[in-house]
């Protein structure tokens, strides 16, 4: 997994080899604003799956610092109870500057866990607006976490968020205002254009810290998985999944090849920017040159 994260040569060969063993795990995305209780929900969901003997993988993604490139990955703190359970594998990742809230290799790490035999893989990401959409691409079932008392937040939810959510968790429902959030969400969902047979995202109230509502949330996740498998649309669901997987892998490969090319440039991205300026070159030409070099590099390394 480390090699995948670091984009090392050889990682792609390993991923190719394990790919046939993927496709069995139920991939659950948990996203929402910072501090809404995503990790606490993950912790409770782990407990709920473990009670049935299911093996659980968790990929917890946090943002890298734009200043230092470093990161503090603190989601494990809330999942300590499962730290020594051999049926639980938790892996923290930093976004490493990739847009969209998902580090480029998240999908790869999810597939590794799938191939390891995890029955469920939970992907936690901090979503700030637009970014949640990336989670939905990787996950089979996406939970969007909201909390009461965030002002006009429910109204402010973008259409995109409504579309990616397969389920809403209104967490911290031990606080005032949860019912209001539920009602407002329900109104928005009812106003949404729908087609016959569409999945209706349930809105579940949770107080994860007290373990409340987790059974309901589990029920919603299971129902969604069943619906996806048996709605007569399973063919479409699988095709869509393959499409987004392909897109994600291609984007990841291109991004890594470009990154490697830029790193190989004397002085890295700073050197490149300076040279572009000094040569009076336009950035499009410079970008084309980098891209061309990246593609040649990709050929040499056999698709890595």
């Amino acid at each position: 997994m480390r090699d995948i994260d670091d984009g090392m040569p050889g990682a792609v060969d390993a991923l190719k080899a394990l790919y046939p063993r993927t496709g069995r795990a139920h991939v659950v995305g948990v996203t929402g604003a910072p501090g809404t209780g995503k990790s606490t929900i993950c912790d409770r969901l782990i407990g709920s799956f473990r009670a049935e003997g299911k093996k659980v993988g968790v990929v917890a993604v946090d943002p890298s610092s734009p200043y230092s490139g470093g990161a503090i990955l603190g989601d494990r703190i809330r999942m300590q109870e499962h730290a020594t359970d051999p049926g639980v594998f938790i892996r923290s990742m930093a976004t490493r500057g990739h847009l969209g809230g998902l580090s480029a290799s998240t999908g790869d790490v999810v597939r590794v866990m799938d191939a390891m035999g995890m029955d469920v893989v939970i992907v936690e990401t901090v979503g700030v607006g637009q970014d949640e959409i990336e989670v939905a691409r990787t996950a089979h079932t996406t939970v969007v976490v909201l909390v009461p008392g965030m002002g006009d937040d429910v109204q402010a939810i973008k259409a995109g968020l409504l579309e990616i959510a397969d389920c809403f968790a209104v967490n911290k429902s031990d606080r005032d205002g949860a019912d209001k959030v539920v009602r407002e969400l329900q109104v928005m969902l009812d106003m949404r254009p729908r087609r016959e047979g569409d999945w209706e995202p349930p809105v579940v109230k949770t107080a994860a810290i007290h373990g409340e509502g987790i059974g309901d949330l589990r029920g919603a996740l299971d129902r969604h998985a069943e619906w996806a498998a048996g709605s007569g649309r399973s063919g479409q669901v699988l095709t869509d999944r393959r499409k987004s997987e392909l897109g994600e892998i291609m984007r990841g490969m291109i991004a890594k090849a470009v990154e490697r090319r830029i790193e190989a440039y004397p002085g890295g991205i700073d050197g490149l920017a300076n040279d572009v300026r000094a040569a009076g070159k336009d950035p499009y030409t410079a970008a084309e040159e980098i891209l061309k070099g990246a593609m040649d590099g990709l050929k040499e390394s056999g698709g890595r």
């Binding site: 480390r2 984009g7 610092s65 230092s68 490139g69 494990r76 703190i77 938790i90 892996r91 190989a264």
Partner: protein, 135 residues
């Protein structure tokens, strides 16, 4: 290509004492130095620390122990890591550690030891000099 390999460091607060300010300050300093820090919070047992270090595939484990239990906890983590194929993981720690204990801990494989008040830059420098991404 080496710069895509980022150092991953687990910062843990083992033992019973409930102060993790020091550990958090170190975690922040390491992030600001460009490392990826996995922070696991309070009350960690050596078992939990070793399990997390292996799952997270870290290059180093740092522990902050103010309770005086360093002679038990630090070597326990070293031993558990060795037993699980993590012998390449550098172990370092901070706390109120007498000189005699330092010698003993070094002998047991705790590579870096820092006392309270050590400038954060010193810890960062030590990591840069002594920890390399594992292959």
């Amino acid at each position: 290509m080496s710069s895509t390999r980022k150092l991953r460091i687990l910062v843990a607060k083992p033992g019973l004492d409930g102060h993790d300010r020091g550990a958090k300050i170190v975690a922040r300093a390491l992030r600001d130095a460009g490392f990826e820090v996995i922070y696991t919070g309070l009350h960690q047992t050596p078992e939990m620390i070793a399990a997390a270090a292996i799952q997270e595939d870290v290059d180093a484990v740092g522990m902050s122990i103010m309770s005086g239990a360093h002679m038990v906890l630090m070597p326990a983590v070293v031993d558990l890591l060795r037993a699980r194929g993590g012998e390449g993981i550098a172990v370092f720690g901070g706390g109120i550690i007498p000189d005699d204990d330092m010698e003993a801990l070094r002998a047991k494989g705790v590579k870096g030891l820092f006392t309270p008040g050590t400038p954060l830059a010193e810890i960062v420098d030590w990591i840069n000099a002594n920890v390399t991404p594992r292959q």
